[in-house]
Symmetry: C2
Subunit: 246 residues, 2 copies
C-alpha cells in the first residue's frame, strides 16, 4: 500500500492512478460545495468542464429537476441559479434535485480520473467520513488529487491532502511518496491553524478580497458533515450501492 | 517583489518567468555536480538534454578539451568519462576543461528557462553564495525551480528551495506564493535533519540502494562551496562579467 499526492494539476496522470482509490480535493470551493449540497439532500451532482457544457447538460432535464451552479474567477455565472458558495447549496434550494455545476478547477479533476478503482470527493468538511470510506480498502494504493488553482499548487488542498495522508498512513501503515510526506508534514505543522492558513493562502485571500470571507471560514471547518460523495459514471452521488445513501 | 517556487516540472512556464531571476535546483545530483565541477576549476558546463545531444556537442571540441559526463536512472552512461557523482568532478579531472553533461532532470530545467532575467544554479552546497548573488537584485521577482524526479515533486529540491525562499523573504521582505510558503515551512520544520531527509526521500533512498549513499550525504552539506554558477547562452559558467570568476 502506498499513498501518493498529486500536488499540482496533471502531476499524476489518470492512467497512472487506474488501480488506485482516488480522492479529489478542491477545498476552495468546488468539493466543499459538492459535499454541502449532497449533505443537504440533493440527488446528484453533475460536474461540467465548462459553462457551455453545463448549459448543454441542463437542456437534457426538466427545468424543475435541476439547479445550475458555477463560477469563473470566484464569481457566479450570469443566468445561473447559484454560484460556488457552499452555503448557498442548502436544503430547500437543492433537496431532491440534480445540481449541474461548472467551476474553475475542481470539476476538471473530478471528471479526469474516470479510470480509477473508485473516486471519492473530499474537503475538510467531510474528512473523517472520507477516512472511514478509505478504511474499507485493505489492499489499495491511494492517490489524493489536489485540484490546485489555475494549474498551480495551492496550500488549502495540500493541507487537506496532508490530513488524509497522515491519518491513512497511521491507520494502515502505508508508505508515503515524497509528495504525500510533504503534504503530511505541512498539515502536522499547521493543523492548529487551518482557518488562518485558508484565510491567508493565495486563493483564500483572493476570495476574502471579493467578499467571500464567510465561505473561506466555513470551508475550514473539519469533519462536520458525514456524506462521502462518490464519482460514478461522471456523476457525483452519495457513497452507495445503487445510488442510495448508505 | 515576490518569491515563487515551481514545485513540479513545468508548473511555472518559462514565459511566465521572463522578468524574474530564476534559480534552478537539482540536489540529487545534477546541480550538486555542476557546482562541484565549477568549484574545482572546470571552465564551463554545457548541459545536454539527451545522451545523443551530449555526444553531438562533444564532437565539436578537441578530445583533450572536454569531459563527457552523464547518467540515466542514476547510473553512468557507457563510454562517458564520468557519471553524475559530484565527487568525481574534482580538480585534476576537470580543471580547465569543458564538461558536457546529460542528466535525467536537472539539465532540462537549466536549458528551459533561457528567457529569464538571469539564471543561477543552486544546491545545498552553495546556498549561501546563491543568496549573496540574489541579494544584488533589489527589485526583482524570484522563481526557484525544483527539477523534480521524472516529472514529479521531490522532497530534496523543495527543501533547498525552502531554504532559499526563507532567507530571501527574511532579507528582502518579499511576499511568498503558496508554493514558496509551503517549501519554506517544510524547510523550517526539517532544517536540523536535512541529511536524514535526503537519505529517506524517494530518489535519495533509490541512490542509497544502488550504492551512492556517500553522494547523498555529500549533497546534504550546506554552504561549503562559494561558487555561483550562472547560465549564459545555454552554458553554465562561474558568475562573472565576461565569463571570468568574480
Amino acid at each position: 500500500m502506498r499513498i501518493d499526492v498529486s500536488l499540482v494539476p496533471g502531476e499524476i496522470l489518470a492512467k497512472d492512478a487506474s488501480r488506485s482509490v482516488v480522492v479529489v480535493i478542491d477545498v476552495l470551493r468546488a468539493t466543499s460545495t459538492i459535499v454541502t449540497a449532497l449533505a443537504s439532500g440533493c440527488e446528484e451532482v453533475i460536474p461540467a468542464e465548462s459553462i457551455e457544457e453545463a448549459i448543454a447538460l441542463a437542456n437534457g432535464y426538466k427545468r424543475s429537476d435541476y439547479v445550475l451552479g458555477g463560477e469563473r474567477r470566484g464569481v457566479p455565472v450570469e443566468g445561473f441559479d447559484l454560484g460556488n458558495s457552499p452555503q448557498e447549496y442548502d436544503g430547500p434550494r437543492v433537496a431532491g434535485k440534480k445540481i449541474i455545476i461548472a467551476t474553475t478547477n475542481g470539476t476538471n479533476a473530478i471528471t479526469e480520473y474516470g479510470v480509477a478503482r473508485d473516486i471519492f470527493v473530499a474537503c475538510f468538511l467531510n474528512a473523517d467520513a472520507v477516512m472511514e470510506a478509505c478504511r474499507a480498502y485493505k489492499d489499495s494504493d491511494f492517490v489524493l488529487v489536489c485540484s490546485g488553482q489555475d494549474g498551480r499548487f495551492c496550500m488549502e488542498d495540500t493541507l487537506c491532502a496532508g490530513l488524509l495522508a497522515t491519518r491513512l498512513a497511521e491507520e494502515t501503515g502505508a508508505e508515503m511518496s515524497d509528495a504525500a510526506r510533504a503534504a503530511s508534514l505541512l498539515y502536522q505543522q499547521r493543523k492548529e491553524s487551518i482557518e488562518d492558513e485558508l484565510l491567508r493562502c493565495d486563493h483564500g485571500a483572493y476570495l476574502v478580497g471579493i467578499g467571500y470571507e464567510q465561505d473561506v471560514r466555513y470551508c475550514s471547518r473539519q469533519s462536520v458533515l458525514s456524506v462521502v460523495p462518490k464519482v460514478y459514471d461522471r456523476r457525483v452521488i452519495r457513497k452507495a450501492h445503487g445510488g442510495k445513501e448508505e
